[in-house]
Symmetry: C2
């Protein structure tokens, strides 16, 4: 069996529809996040229409990528802390409680973005993740994201919908 | 002459390509924000693929809508403070320095979202905007966004690109 390195490829099928990173969303961005040298990384090349204005990436896309990358990072971190490898079981599913993005400088459009993330705090009910967005060796945006386990209400509604 | 009430319809043509709210972006979301009873409001109905998981709106979309709505609010607020009506001149163009979104509860998919915004702080170099996202009378997310006038570097690059 080949185990994909991407966290999102191991999301449970019922929770794999996220526009930003769900493999099951046919219209989505399909962000893929994976371990690399002790941090979680992803790359993404925005399309021409993903612009704030000609030449620069739309801030909403940057926020979206940071959000999804942070959820994968929370899942991967807790999984590793519990002694499991990526793909050994379905990945844990977190949702965003809080998303804070600082746009440090304009992000040029047409280049590959590199997202790097690490966990800065782990509590019983939340995981805090710091994410940076780089292009051409320069960090253009930073995010701090609070991830919480998927709430009962979303999980229950999802199960009801599929029954 | 009919003057549109939407702030974004009066963005200068060179800066009207934003994915979230630019009238000139053929693939974009085309958010429209306008004055209503002393605040800036917008409505938006997410599409089926705009999901975090089946039944719930993608947080990245919510962040994107908050972002664009806040930029329009900053423009409209400063314009009004300077005694101008919407559409009297091209709208001012702000960009996001910081975006903070709190997801208070899951946002159900399939319903119209109402965004409401007001300016909480105006400085020489920044405008701070508070945004709420409501559906069915319930606030599901709140945003605080720091808007700054479009930086010289973006403006210059844009002008270079169109010459």
């Amino acid at each position: 069996m080949t185990v994909s390195r991407a966290i999102q490829d191991h999301y449970p099928p019922s929770f794999a529809h996220c526009y930003g990173c769900g493999p099951a969303n046919s219209r989505g961005l399909h962000l893929k996040s994976a371990w690399s040298n002790g941090e979680i990384v992803a790359t993404f090349t925005p399309e021409a229409h993903d612009m704030a204005m000609p030449g620069f990436v739309y801030g909403g896309l940057i926020a979206s990528l940071i959000d999804c990358h942070a959820m994968a990072t929370a899942a991967a971190h807790v999984e590793r802390a519990e002694g499991r490898a990526v793909g050994e079981q379905p990945a844990l599913r977190y949702v965003t409680a809080s998303l804070h993005v600082q746009y440090l400088k304009p992000t040029p459009l047409g280049e590959e973005l590199l997202l790097r993330a690490r966990v800065t705090e782990t509590g019983r009910r939340k995981v805090v993740v710091a994410v940076s967005v780089e292009t051409g060796g320069s960090v253009t945006a930073k995010g701090e994201v609070v991830a919480v386990p998927i709430p009962e209400s979303m999980s229950r509604a999802r199960n009801d919908a599929t029954q």
